[in-house]
């Protein structure tokens, strides 16, 4: 009993919870200033998410790519790299999966689906490795290369879709065949677009944890992330670790793209601008404090808030952009933990007194 109590009262749990609460309060204040009823708005938000099996399934659909991109950014962070390029890696993963699914549509499902998944993950990983390689070999800041690679990926994938797989007269690819899709329990959720990708996303989080904290390679990666000079002095190859970390990070992002195609949309759009998956991933990683299980929880929070925001605007008339303010504030309070500790101060004092007695 006491052990559990200790875990739940530890800062790692309490600070995020208080931050979420404060973030929702900021959102409520902004709604009040705008003349909306925050209680109504939050009620409609929850109702939208859990109201019908369809909406619940769609919320899960919304959460899945967030887990992948969140893991992608968090993994890079743990190795001391800032991967702003998850967005481009998602697009490249999408494109590779679409290309495989459409080019070899004759293959049986048990072969085509894994091929498409592997292609997506591999393509995302290799795309990210470009930035890793340039960082390792030439010391070029990965922030600038991943930003540049985002735009390059956007135009490159548009080129591939437009010139090889375009559905005539539309701004998207042809539909992939049924043998390349992987839906899952769709009927339980009244045809919401749920798919196996969610399960794989959760497995990816477990892999992230085991790899970084239970293997020698993961230990090296974290060492490089914490202090690359010390790691080098200890005989670790910093360059190899940087490339490897970017590769794995890119695989996570690429898979996000893969499942958006073969699990959800069954085609790929020609995007006019960045679709924003990677930037959501940055927020999810930060909210989850770069821990794989934190990322899963924060992806759930992020997905629920964004999917529910439509209900909020439908039911209570609140512009859905409000949810961005809420998410921004939550991240702010998690980052500036000093503020949360300040709010919690009276409770801390009380706890200390208990200890003394």
């Amino acid at each position: 009993m006491n052990k559990w109590r200790k875990i739940f009262l530890s800062d790692n749990i309490i600070v995020p919870l208080v931050a979420i609460l404060l973030g929702l309060l900021v959102g409520a204040a902004v709604m009040l200033i705008g003349g909306y009823n925050p209680i109504d708005a939050y009620r409609f938000l929850i109702k939208r998410v859990v109201g019908t099996p369809y909406d619940f399934g769609e919320t899960i659909r919304q959460i899945t790519p967030l887990i992948f991109t969140g893991l992608s950014v968090a993994f890079a962070f743990r190795s001391g790299l800032f991967n702003i390029g998850a967005d481009g890696q998602v697009l490249i993963g999408m494109t590779a999966s679409t290309a495989v699914a459409l080019s070899w549509s004759g293959l049986p499902s048990w072969l085509l689906v894994p091929l498409s998944v592997i292609a997506g993950g591999l393509a995302g990983g290799l795309w990210a490795s470009i930035a890793g390689y340039l960082k390792a070999k030439r010391g070029i800041n990965e922030v600038i290369t991943t930003i540049m690679l985002n735009w390059t990926a956007l135009y490159f994938s548009n080129y591939v879709i437009r010139h090889f797989y375009l559905l005539k007269g539309q701004n998207r690819s042809e539909d992939i065949g049924a043998s390349a899709t992987m839906t899952f329990l769709g009927s339980t959720f009244s045809n919401a677009r749920v798919h196996w990708g969610t399960v794989i996303a959760l497995l990816a989080a477990v892999f992230f944890f085991v790899y970084l904290w239970k293997t020698k390679q993961g230990y090296e990666m974290r060492a490089v992330g914490l202090n690359s000079k010390a790691a080098e002095y200890a005989g670790m190859n910093v360059g190899t670790n940087v490339v490897k970390a970017m590769f794995i990070s890119g695989v996570f992002a690429g898979l996000a793209g893969t499942f958006e195609v073969i699990g959800v949309f069954h085609y790929q759009s020609v995007f006019a601008a960045s679709p924003g998956y990677g930037f959501d991933g940055i927020a999810v990683a930060l909210l989850g404090m770069n821990h794989p299980f934190g990322v899963v929880l924060s992806a759930i929070l992020y997905g629920v808030l964004t999917y529910g925001s439509a209900g909020m605007s439908f039911g209570a008339g609140v512009p859905p952009e409000l949810i961005k303010i809420v998410i921004g504030s939550i991240i702010f309070f998690i980052a500036a933990q000093g503020i949360v500790r300040f709010v919690l101060k009276p409770f801390y004092l009380k706890r200390k007194k208990e200890k003394v007695m």
Binding site: F82, L134, I140, I147, M148, L149, F156, P319, K324
Partner: protein, 319 residues
């Protein structure tokens, strides 16, 4: 069309595209030279573009005529500074991770601005169209071939940007204030020992970046789009960060990098005038600036020259 006129026009539209990047990259330099990462440039530009759209609209309604865009600029400076204050409080006072609190700015800006626009303009997601800046030619100078059309027939904001590049260079490298600002970003412990107030200098650096990035965002509203919507900025802030790194945290370098990005945006419209360009898919033409940046970085720039204390909060008790 003869070659000289074409070159002049190309230079002219290069400057139109690069002006916003110049302002924002300069802003980034002031913040990062003081040791505070500013990934929030995108959000600060959104704040500026929004304030310019709203401020100019109300100034026009109030009958301020041709002065209205300048009111928009002032509004953008104020809102940009307020936005960067959030970053400063979190990153400097509360010692939050600087990258995270920059990302927070991007989120808050994207949410708050559209939310307020919808409140102000009855649910419309866009500010009403405004009369934006007009290009102003400088007499005599504009008659110089190529350069005249290129540099001396521009928007007022472009002239302002070029002046600010020179001014920033002077302030950063030739004044005691600039020395203090840089010292706080290189070695805050030593600066503190010599009596420089680290916290104050960093606040100043971040707030200047808010003002400049605000003007940068405003420039896009006031010269290109004439309205503010959620996609007015769409990634320009990140390009500005790239320009800052590309320019090695030096105002003149950032000017060069920003003009490079501006040029590659401008050349898109001109390349299509040539017959041979039809055989190249347009996506590849769009890709050129980004691929070229990577190639240039690989071949020329090499290891980046970031301020040594960039990204670390200053704790006087730690040595």
């Amino acid at each position: 069309m003869d070659v000289l006129t074409l070159l002049g026009q190309l230079l002219n539209s290069t400057l139109v595209f690069s002006t916003a990047l110049i302002f924002s990259a300069l802003g980034g330099i002031f913040s990062e030279k003081s040791g505070v990462i500013n990934i929030g440039l995108e959000g600060l530009m959104i704040f500026g573009a929004f304030a310019a759209g709203v401020g100019t609209y109300y100034a026009q309604e109030a009958g301020m005529g041709n002065w209205s865009p300048w009111i928009g600029i002032i509004a953008a400076i104020i809102v940009g500074v307020l936005g960067s204050l959030i970053h400063a409080v979190a990153a400097i006072t509360f010692k939050a991770d600087q990258t995270i609190s920059g990302i927070v700015i991007n989120f808050l800006a994207a949410g708050l601005t559209v939310y307020i626009v919808k409140l102000l303009f009855e649910g419309s997601a866009e500010t009403p169209l405004i009369h934006a800046f007009q290009k102003k030619a400088i007499p005599l100078l504009r008659d110089i071939p190529v350069i005249g059309e290129g540099f001396f027939n521009a928007y007022p904001t472009t002239y302002l940007a070029l002046i600010l590049v020179a001014l920033s260079y002077f302030v950063l490298f030739k004044t005691p204030f600039g020395l203090r600002l840089r010292s706080v970003g290189e070695y805050p412990g030593a600066a503190d020992t010599l009596g420089v107030n680290v916290t104050r200098m960093r606040y100043i650096g971040v707030l200047i970046s808010g003002a400049l990035a605000g003007i940068g965002g405003a420039t896009i509203t006031l010269t290109t789009t004439s309205t503010f919507a959620h996609n007015t900025i769409s990634g320009q802030g990140y390009i500005a960060i790239a320009a800052m790194i590309f320019g090695k945290w030096n105002p003149v370098g950032a000017l060069g990098a920003a003009m490079f990005f501006g040029f590659s945006q401008a050349i898109r419209n001109y390349v299509q005038l040539f017959e041979w360009s039809k055989s190249i898919p347009q996506e590849f033409i769009f890709m050129i600036p980004y691929v070229l940046t990577i190639i240039v970085l690989v071949s020329a720039v090499g290891r980046s020259a970031a301020p040594s204390a960039l990204g670390t909060s200053y704790d006087p008790g730690k040595r």
